[in-house]
Amino acid sequence: MATTALHPAAPAVRGGLYEWLTTTDHKKIGMLYLVNSLVFFALGGILALVVRLELAQPGMQFIDEAFYNQAFTMHASFMLFLFIIPILAGFGNYAVPLQIGAPDMAFPRINALSFWLLPLGGALMASGFLASGGAAASGWTEYPPLSGPAYHGTGTDLWIMGLVLIGTSSILGAINFLVTIFRMRAPGMTLFRMPILSWTVLVTSVLVLMSTPVLTSALIMLFIDRNYGGHFFDPANGGNAVLYQNVFWFYSHPAVYIMVLPAMGIISEVLPVFSRKPLFGYKAFVFATVGIGALGFSVWAHHMFTTGQVFLPFFALMTFLIAVPTGVKMFNWIATLWRGKLVFSTPLLFAFGFLTMFLIGGLNGAFSAAVPVDFALHDTYWVVAHLHYVLFGGSVFGVFAGIYYWFPKMTGRMLNETLGKLQFVLMFVGFNMTFFPMHQLGLMGMPRRIADYASTAGWTELNTLATIGGFTIGLSMVPFLWNVMVSLRNGRIAGDDPWEGNTLEWATSSPPPPYNFDHLPEIRSERPVFDARHGRTATH
């Protein structure tokens, strides 16, 4: 690895504003993705706190019902479309070419376009707050007829246009990932030697490619209904309101896997490195990922069990089945830790947070797969608990594991471990305080998306608790931001390979030079850097 010291002061995170605005380097674009996503994470988080503040006590104290609906709609839209999906694409952008030993993405300029569509789409979406009638307010699902022209104004149109741009960004990004992975792997990097993160990005890209255009078609039909007198979803004129839900969820259920598979990939990078063992059952893990992706296309209607318009047994069966590959992953992760020598740095802590929270998010999802139980729990706070355990407890903890893991590679400096652990504890405690009580609220019968509830309903204490938890999560961002600020300037110098990593990104300098590598180690397994350090341990 001596060859990697050729760039002692590689300026990958320096450079002027012009350089950042015009870059086509996948590493810089990846970092732009991360920063942009974190900005929308902050905006979405503030909206979440507004919602929590209003729900802490019965009665309308701070905002009115109309703004409440805008707040939770835009919270979800920012978090799903402008935070989770893009930040995972950002990790993919940064890490995939490095992990497969490529100099860059296949289409660097399209890569830049994919990124720049995001802030544009996000700004369009957010500008709804300035429109008369406010931003989109029919929930992130925007079910018609409620999202139709009779009930909501320009904000919804801006939401649609923004989301079409974001979807286009995803599609272009997916094409780029697929061509990169299929065509630009380094010699020796066969598909079954690819790091798991690259595999999850591959499967995710297929999901994006197949499902996001369908969302675009749903949005365009909605836009035509809203603005040009169309009747696709207008029951008063022969349209079909449930049709939108079918088309929408054909995208949005695979989208759930788009939002969680790369986070699983990050965890699958972190666990082997910090337990100093290979990933247990690499091939089983790959097959499970592919299986989740394939089954992901046949479960969309489990979001629609209560519509009375879908064939329940089929979708229930598929939904149950998808638990199997997910369970395989969970067991493989635990087997990876088993008899390892765990090094509890911050990335591993977040990975443990992921395992615990995702376990709960998987199990409480099984309740909704049992259709009659779903009749009781659908659209209650139970579902809010479920989706946050998967997407926050799962994906967001995975994202922070990734940030702590790759920050040294991206910047050349380590993040502070003490602040990282403080952030983890605050986030873990705050998260569970916020979302665990929502199971109970849902079981008691509190529907989601209500601005207010009666003081006699018996929901006040748990809502107050959830609000305190929400602000604890908000507080956990303080040590994080402080950590990033301080470490960017004064963090300990990382060196090429601070964690004793397995994959190729640790075989180049930190930050890597343009085109990534001057020399690649021999690739004979999914852990080329480990092999270079210790010799190979088993055939693959």
Binding site: F107, I175, I220, G230
Partner: protein, 234 residues
């Protein structure tokens, strides 16, 4: 750094195609195939909506809700489809859709001839065929525009029942894709006149032709579904 970025672009888009995958598809061609996959899914969404709406369309006929298609108000206008339209004044107007369909199918052949020509390094043949393809594409768009004006004249629009909504959305988005394809053809012709393509370097030509074939196939499907699939009478 900008020169780095430019160098990187070249590196990523062309060198790697030849370095790693001389035997397989070029990166732009693979990228275009994947893009077409996404476009297929986009049209699949629209088609799914069309069939769902068509199957559930009901109208009051003699006090009974019955399923029919197209709606009664357009049944007379569209009776003789696909070849002529009877307007409300009783005139018959040539429906231009069949000639337009033939033109688009023909353009797919000329497009492929162009690709074959550039593979033989026959730049003139390539330019001639792509030029013809572009002209045929524009002609198709003009015919479609004429078709729209006739139908608008009959009072049919996006808001005329779900029939109008689906008809104009499907054909309109296809038209937009033809327009996009024509722009790509124009760029290829322009670059071809500058001598940028050869038997070795013609990934963009191939990608454009794939897209044009895709647009053509979507139209054949649309034509079959919108014009040839028999309607349901009350």
């Amino acid at each position: 750094m900008t020169s780095d970025a430019a160098a990187l672009t070249t590196h990523g888009e062309t060198h790697d195609a030849t370095e790693h995958g001389a035997a397989g598809l070029g990166n732009p061609v693979l990228g275009m195939l994947l893009f077409i996959t996404s476009e297929v899914m986009f049209f699949a969404g629209l088609f799914a909506a069309y069939f769902s709406i068509r199957a559930s369309y009901q109208e009051l006929v003699n006090g009974q809700l019955v399923h029919l298609w197209p709606p009664a108000q357009f049944a007379d206008t569209l009776k003789a489809l696909p070849f002529v339209i009877t307007t409300s004044e009783g005139h018959t107007v040539l429906n231009v859709i069949l000639p337009a369909t033939l033109i688009l199918i023909a353009s797919s052949f000329t497009c492929q001839l162009g690709v074959n020509a550039i593979k033989r390094d026959d730049r003139t043949g390539f330019l001639r065929n792509f030029g013809v393809t572009l002209v045929l594409g524009i002609l198709f768009l003009l015919l479609q525009a004429y078709d729209y004006t006739v139908l608008f004249g009959e009072g049919m629009g996006l808001g005329s029942t779900t029939f109008g909504t689906t008809y104009f959305t499907l054909t309109g988005f296809h038209g937009a894709h033809v327009f996009g394809g024509a722009l790509m053809l124009a760029v290829v012709v322009y670059r071809g006149m500058a001598g940028q393509f050869s038997a070795r370097h013609h990934d963009m030509v191939e990608a454009t032709s794939l897209y044009w074939h895709f647009v053509d196939i979507v139209w054949i499907l649309l034509f079959s579904v919108l014009y040839l699939l028999p309607g349901v009478k009350a």
